[in-house]
Symmetry: D2
Subunit: 374 residues, 4 copies
Amino acid sequence: MAGLGIGLIGTGFMGKTHALAWGAARAVLGRDLPEVRLEMLCDTPQDRAAEMADQFGFARATGDWRALVTDPAVDVVSITTPNNLHHEMACTALRAGKHVWCEKPMALTLAEAEEMAQAAHEAGAVTMVGYNYIRNPAFLHAKKLIEEGRIGRVVHVRGWVDEDYQADPDLPWTWRARLQDAGLGTLGDLGCHLVSMVVGLAGPIESLVADTQIIHDTRPLPDGSGRGAVENEDTATALLRFANGAHGSISSSRSAWGRKNKLDWEIHGTRGMICFAQERMNELQVYLNEGPKAEQGFRTILSGPEHPPFSAFVPAPGHQLGFGDLKTIEAADLLTAIRDGGQAYPSMQDALVFERVIHAIADSARRGCCRVTL
Amino acid sequence: MAGLGIGLIGTGFMGKTHALAWGAARAVLGRDLPEVRLEMLCDTPQDRAAEMADQFGFARATGDWRALVTDPAVDVVSITTPNNLHHEMACTALRAGKHVWCEKPMALTLAEAEEMAQAAHEAGAVTMVGYNYIRNPAFLHAKKLIEEGRIGRVVHVRGWVDEDYQADPDLPWTWRARLQDAGLGTLGDLGCHLVSMVVGLAGPIESLVADTQIIHDTRPLPDGSGRGAVENEDTATALLRFANGAHGSISSSRSAWGRKNKLDWEIHGTRGMICFAQERMNELQVYLNEGPKAEQGFRTILSGPEHPPFSAFVPAPGHQLGFGDLKTIEAADLLTAIRDGGQAYPSMQDALVFERVIHAIADSARRGCCRVTL
Amino acid sequence: MAGLGIGLIGTGFMGKTHALAWGAARAVLGRDLPEVRLEMLCDTPQDRAAEMADQFGFARATGDWRALVTDPAVDVVSITTPNNLHHEMACTALRAGKHVWCEKPMALTLAEAEEMAQAAHEAGAVTMVGYNYIRNPAFLHAKKLIEEGRIGRVVHVRGWVDEDYQADPDLPWTWRARLQDAGLGTLGDLGCHLVSMVVGLAGPIESLVADTQIIHDTRPLPDGSGRGAVENEDTATALLRFANGAHGSISSSRSAWGRKNKLDWEIHGTRGMICFAQERMNELQVYLNEGPKAEQGFRTILSGPEHPPFSAFVPAPGHQLGFGDLKTIEAADLLTAIRDGGQAYPSMQDALVFERVIHAIADSARRGCCRVTL
Amino acid sequence: MAGLGIGLIGTGFMGKTHALAWGAARAVLGRDLPEVRLEMLCDTPQDRAAEMADQFGFARATGDWRALVTDPAVDVVSITTPNNLHHEMACTALRAGKHVWCEKPMALTLAEAEEMAQAAHEAGAVTMVGYNYIRNPAFLHAKKLIEEGRIGRVVHVRGWVDEDYQADPDLPWTWRARLQDAGLGTLGDLGCHLVSMVVGLAGPIESLVADTQIIHDTRPLPDGSGRGAVENEDTATALLRFANGAHGSISSSRSAWGRKNKLDWEIHGTRGMICFAQERMNELQVYLNEGPKAEQGFRTILSGPEHPPFSAFVPAPGHQLGFGDLKTIEAADLLTAIRDGGQAYPSMQDALVFERVIHAIADSARRGCCRVTL
């Protein structure tokens, strides 16, 4: 069969974005990429899978993920199911010889994530974890500016990632509030994205001290039988020390009214500063200590053809990329790695670094804000 | 053959966005839409067509657009070629019984555009002209707010559309500067988009008075043999009177340094105001004279699931749509019209209204800023 | 008596700012300025004058402006009364040998304004009209950048000045709506400020074509006896041609919900653009076609010590100036002119240029949007 | 002698703002305030004092601060000298029976600050420490909204205060880098202002964990003889727990390129959020979970007459206050307390609370990021 066979598990928010990304990657990023076949889609019940396979253009549908991950016509498995299923699905797929694209966070516990990375290593597979925000041309341009020394030595870092999906005190209790089912709270949902960005820009975090908070410690049970306990954190904040000597801090809340996709950071250098806000993802704010003082200011750089791979989507600056486009770039990067027999970034091994940080934050907080070395 | 056969002419900026939109529309917007086949792609030379057909996933390629528009397996023709070719291609396709999706502006002259609309009418075809910015959920929400009377009666309107692709005085002369080849200048490239938005929000324009300007009246010829004349306008500005009694103004420049895709407007009502800026296309600024004076202010509404069809792309607010997504919505709207046997908006007949405005602006300016009634 | 004796007529909004400016000018801008004595304050009734003289620190109070403008201890007269009183007060003061600082607009009609300028000329007095927004260090820096050629040749200009004090359809009728009492509408209140800025930056306007609009043509009479006619314009918009060849447009509305002090402009040059928004009066937006394309963007320059006379107020950038500070600079500029035996800018003669523009706009509109040459 | 006699020590940045504030307070805020006499100004050398007394309008000048603080015609002493002088000057003035307005931070060490507060208590004097940013009408409105419960219960707090006056690695060493002369670094200069704001909005801080960093650990000595050690912190960040159960964090840097007066905070509540940025000090960002979801967004509230005491300066919204106006309000609040025989806010006792926080941050960092209880 021509092309790489794609198997996708899950048809929700991220499932759809994977389906679209697989369909668009080569058309957008170019003929150098391998062709793909949308081979099999899995969801439950099976009817749902069949309907969505029709909609997304997959050839076959199944209600049994084990059938999908072992199907001989499937070469790459996309895992977009709830977090507590990632571990088993990924390990099984890897052991069946598949490449794996898994959504973040990898797993509920660090131990499971480590096992996944180990399985990937043993299988010699290409893996990628869905840290889509680091695909943004604006992010890549920031990284390039930093690497070229345009802002000098990085000395301080700050980041925030907030949403408001748990801000309302009256929201009912769900499984998301239970450690056993959901694992970490805001750290797993949001915090790890921020970590992928600040580590990408400022390098590894060496140690941290952190605090977390449960704002709404119980929520009404949906069946009206009382209130259920919220076991995982609503907010988390950490003081960071980076390996390169920079200090910094990150903070996350899932209960921050008005924040829909705040994922902002600022990188302080000895010659300038770069800032970014995800809700305006096609903009970068850059201040350089250059030229006449009277003319210095933060400049708003709009993403454009000068910022690869923007022009693969549109050749005109100011014609914005959207969230889905980030997933398309992600798929293309995975395809490139498969084609070249290399590794994608971030592989499960790479992603472990990010996930260690969020678990270290939870750990530090649990242990009374003690310093945790990574 | 199952599904609608798509024929696409052109593989440049807009050609690629059409190809992607055709591929994504049903996967994004839902199974109620007809299936499509990417049947045939045309560009010159034929090799280019073949390469891009491979990349975009079209079944066949041709260097002969007449072959495409008459091919029996083609049901819908996408026209994304330079503006001076639209007229003949569209008319031929329509007369061959095809539905047509044509990029804007329809043609170099109003007479040609009228002929296209007439051909569409006679063919009974479904047509759509590529006014993609009116597909934006943020725009649709603004329109809904206005229709619901949230800002009261519309009394004043302002709009601007600027880019800087002709700002550099040293850019060489191209065919874009010649009336015969390119038709209008900034009005055709940019102005008509703005018209599609303000008319969509405030209704028909009744009359106008306008002025235009050629900033760089010659440019260096590419062969170094001297300088060529720039024949079409760099800027255009018009005083508007709307049928509903509102006044307003619009202005456009293709020589506005720093503007990459400025396409901004503000609608003044008797109870509030709505503003929009395309470079931040996922935001709407709304001021309502409601609640305590001490708490009034422009609010920044981020596009989200409350603003259809946003959630078809992502169910989470603040996860932005991009330019390509607008074309996907456009394709879906065209597919809906074909499925339902109705007409798409804006059909060639509808789009004539927009294009009459830009020609009226040019006309008023040519005649010494006299009032032109539409 | 030591120092210049100040006589102030009016204790409302602008009266207070004049009083404060007179008190602060030398303390802020330096000992090179002449000392002033707050000699006499006029308002009606006399009790009000006495109270405010106590509050503002004036030595004497009167209810008779003629007594003030002829008082031998008064050297400079500040006129901050309603616009219909400016003409007689200013002419009388000038003929009594006083220097005059008069609020804008100079008068209800151009004829009266011309008479004032003539009286100033004949008296050999120093005059200044209260165009305070052109005192802003940010504005002065923009002007400097333009004069130094940083944005190349100015080719296009746009400006807007909006407030919402007449936006509410239910506001009662006042004298402000009557031509005979108030003269122009939004043009006199707001438009002339904008003209002072764009002419300051782009030079004289040669001709224009304009339209105006009365949004709320009647308003409820305060005594409940019916509705009174609104005779002057709510909005005004003009197409401009400048003497230097640039084109442009300006627009003003006093019925624009949410706009509290919008007074914005953008100057398009062949090498860059400068934009300004009065509601963020300590910021300038500058785009220069310089350096790597990938790093170009509008930069937000915060006012600071590099932008005279900012540092006279605070030596630290980002520590903002406010509205009152603009009046202090204005007073200091007037004092400088008096000290040096020169003329202040804008003198009544200079201000006539601005006021001719607003009357030309009204004139063009009245005559069916015909071209008016200045 | 009529009125309160003012003695001012220092004529630099803050000295000038005090002088202007004393001159303007009653004229702006009203006749209910006591009159003041600008009695005596102190600086060294005496010539400088004499010159500035002339400029600022003080009756007498001296080079001897002890003469000033004991002068019988002086009732209130403004202390605007370098921080290491505050303690002795304030204590001497208080013991001489004067009211004292002292710039922040109170002193180099907490022990000295405590002694000052004790001296104030014993003297029964009215004192005020110069936390000017909490005078801003926008801040006061935020405080009012929070107290009225508009954003529900405060659950999380974040704040930042950055400037770039120590960002340049090549700046020469100064006394500001020496603990003995300058005390704390960014915490004393900037951090305490932020503390005054977040404590004002969210109440007392109960405990914290913090880290600090010296970015540039040596700087070139001005005499070219090598490099001097920087002994105090360039950045400081703390994890906070408030008495009301909220968590939060604050961070400060004096080496943050591009930040001129960043002093920003966000207060997360269970029903909304309020954000503020000092560089846009006339704006408040407020999000309320009210009304249709489709219309929710952060609204930008511009300061205006609805936000006391804004209208004392200008009756029109959007006509901005500046930095100096904050000091005028501060002076008026001090005058009110003197008139009423009450205490001003923040008195030295109140300000101790803020200063304890910055010393606790330094302390936590010094002790390896341990928890410090306040």
